[in-house]
């Protein structure tokens, strides 16, 4: 067993001992899943070092690499975990990229300890049909932010928000305390019952400027890239587990005097899902490899065709496998009590976010053309977007 597999087993065992709302047995109460269980999050920090996976050791983290982080996301997806790792780890990654000062080091330490839940507030797509919040200088070196974000993951559980806002016509990152009176968060009913989201309204929220321009861009890149890999990995994990459950079920469920898993139609469906799962796993590893390569040569992550492959495949295949897992469970698969639908909800929700405007495939094509030096209209049209 290699290191990554070992790490996965450790995380899996912990999550089985101390499961999230989805897998505690009995029907899921969405309201319960919407609340963050902070004790559990702290246990994940103290016993597993989860929030600090990639935070440097000098700031209280485990200092692991990209592959390890992706493995953790995969396990959290398998377990339909409702903790704030996805968002908090993005903030951690951004903070590492944004500013190397004591203030941030402190934040990283508190994140690693499970004491600070911080959430990024920016759209996953560069091109997004929504306005960014606006910042203006306030009193005492601070800023004030104004704006509405209709749907922010983990906003309802956040202690702090890392907000990307317009400032003098540029994008800049601001740190906002979630308890500020200028911050209002309204919980939303979500498709994915194990992922909390909230509408965030900022009405002159007091904000600390963290980074502007190039530095901010690096943070944006870290967050987007992390979000893509994280949600893709969750899809792979959820799909993997859903397929296992379905295969286990068809081995024991008997109809017509034999296990339904002995019927060729069922066997072949399972085999096709296995092939799909291998595609998704490969898409994820293509993405990881392209990010590593990219980190070495300093390309912007939006230009990575490899990331686009994961965005297209992990979401779509995750949804396909988890949907078919419902089907393979027959009648009980579409009861609320059975967790099959929770996997489907997670996979679909991630799929929707991974290509939230349906532009990924054509951006991928543009980036392939660009990589081949084709200056067609298309390549140049997308040039600013996909870079090189």
């Amino acid at each position: 067993m290699d290191d990554i597999e070992q790490l996965r087993q450790v995380v899996r065992a912990h999550l089985e001992r101390d499961p999230g709302a989805a897998l505690r047995g009995g029907a899921l109460d969405p309201a319960e899943a919407r609340r963050l269980d902070r004790d559990r999050w702290r246990r994940q920090a103290s016993e597993l070092g989860l929030p600090g996976v990639r935070i440097p050791e000098e700031h209280g983290g485990a200092g692991m690499g990209l592959a390890e982080e992706v493995a953790v996301h995969t396990e959290l997806g398998r377990a339909l975990d409702d903790g704030p790792f996805l968002t908090t780890s993005l903030v951690a990654a951004a903070l590492v990229a944004l500013a190397d000062d004591e203030e941030n080091h402190g934040r990283l330490r508190r994140i690693a300890a499970g004491e600070l839940v911080a959430v990024p507030v920016l759209p996953i797509e560069e091109k997004f049909p929504l306005e960014y919040p606006h910042a203006k200088a306030g009193t005492g070196g601070d800023f004030e932010i104004q704006g509405e974000l209709p749907c922010v993951v983990d906003a309802t559980a956040a202690d702090a928000l890392l907000v990307l806002a317009e400032h003098h016509g540029h994008h800049a990152f601001f740190w906002v305390d979630a308890s500020d009176p200028g911050v209002e968060v309204v919980p939303l009913a979500t498709l994915d019952l194990t992922r909390r989201m909230g509408a965030v309204r900022l009405t002159g929220a007091r904000a600390e400027l963290l980074a502007e321009d190039d530095r901010a861009r690096a943070g944006v890149a870290a967050i987007r890239q992390g979000a893509i890999l994280g949600m893709s990995a969750e899809c792979v994990g959820a799909a993997e587990r859903a397929l296992e459950m379905a295969v286990d079920y068809v081995k024991v469920r008997t109809q017509f005097g034999r296990p339904i898993g002995s019927f060729q139609a069922v066997k072949h469906k399972c085999a096709d899902l296995l092939v799909s799962l291998e595609r998704a796993r490969s898409a994820l590893s293509v993405a990881v490899r392209s990010v590593r390569h990219n980190d070495a040569i300093g390309r912007r992550p939006e230009s990575l065709a490899g990331l686009a492959v994961a965005r297209m495949y992990c979401g779509r295949i995750g949804a396909e496998i988890t949907r078919e897992a419902i089907h393979l469970h027959g009648g009980i698969g579409f009861t609320w009590e059975h967790p099959a639908h929770l996997y489907y909800r997670r996979a679909v929700s991630n799929r929707q976010l991974l290509d939230s405007t349906g532009q990924q495939p054509r951006l991928l094509t543009a980036s392939v053309l660009a990589a081949h030096g084709e200056d067609t209209q298309l390549a140049s049209f997308y040039a600013g977007k996909v870079g090189r």
Binding site: Q255, G257, R323, Y344, R345
Partner: protein, 405 residues
Amino acid sequence: MTTPATHEAVASEAHAFFAARAPRRERRGMLHGVGDDDVVGVGLTQPDDEAAEVARAQQWQRELFDAKLAWLDGPVRFGGRGLSHDYVELVAGIAAEYQVPSTSTYMVSHGIVAPTILAHGTEEQQRAFLPGIWRGDLICCQLFSEPEAGSDLASLRTTAVRDGDDWIVTGQKVWSSFAHVAQLGELLVRTGPPESRHRGLSVFLIDMNSPGIDVRPLRQVTGSEHFNEVFLDGVRVPDSRRLGPVNGGWNIAMTTVGSERSVLGRAHNGIMIEPVIRLFALARSTGAIDDPAIQDLLAECWAREQVLHETATRLRDAGGPAPGSVVKLMTTSDMEYYSDVAARLLGYRMVADTGAWGTYSWSQLLLSAPSHRIAGGSDEIQRNILAERVLGLPREERPVPEKSA
């Protein structure tokens, strides 16, 4: 009653009836943002408003029945009008032009149970139940599946034991739509020995208010409670409620199941509410309509809808074997396709209910689509039926040997 009907006459009669009772529906066209944004009709009403909806449906059904507009192709002596099936579609199309109450409460009653009684009931049974079912007094449910007998219906274990003029029924049924509001249940039970499979089953029309019946709603993945578990503990059913011969229930059940499948292929069946035109409207509202790739997807949706309805009509008229299986497979595939297109159009708008009209509501279609691939005979069962009964391919080898089909 016996005056010769014409399509024109019935149409204008229907228009007059609906116009007197309900405002005309705005021709929706491509409107987005107006009215109710539910995409899925049947099975999504929440317990809170269900009683009121049932009451509205019963009132409305009674008016329809009294006006002879409820059961156009039914025998006159049971309150029908004795017309051909195309009148049914004519009036359903006209009804859709008005804001009339939903009658989806009667989906099982009229689409599934009534046809079975008409095909297999005695004159007395028909007279006893059909007018009441069509007048809306009797809501029906179907009591077939059991936890251990889903696709393999012939293995069911709920038993009916003869006791004088009655039968005593004990067992458990599941996935029964409308059982929680039904007065009449079409019950398939074992009256033969345990290993008799499909040769030892009988059908009864049971009173759902009988002592010993316990109906417990099952929550679905959509969050609605449309299906039920039904526990039967020593329920007494008079032999006069038996439909067809003792141990001759399998053929009757197959009639029922065939009707169940065919309901899916009908226009205005209430399962999906104008999904295709809504997808066009949604694409217009987001601007996606200008994307040629989206135009291609919408064309596929439109073509699917045309082809489904054409197929349902064509196969019904042709009278060949297992039309319901073809129609059901098409429908479940269409539902999945539409929900995928909706997801593509909505992107991030589908992940949370931000209150925006006609966005998050599509998640209900996405979540309910898988259930249609199981209910009424799984996709796999439908393919077996087509392969064996239409194409004449060999039956599946069965480890449990059967002497005859």
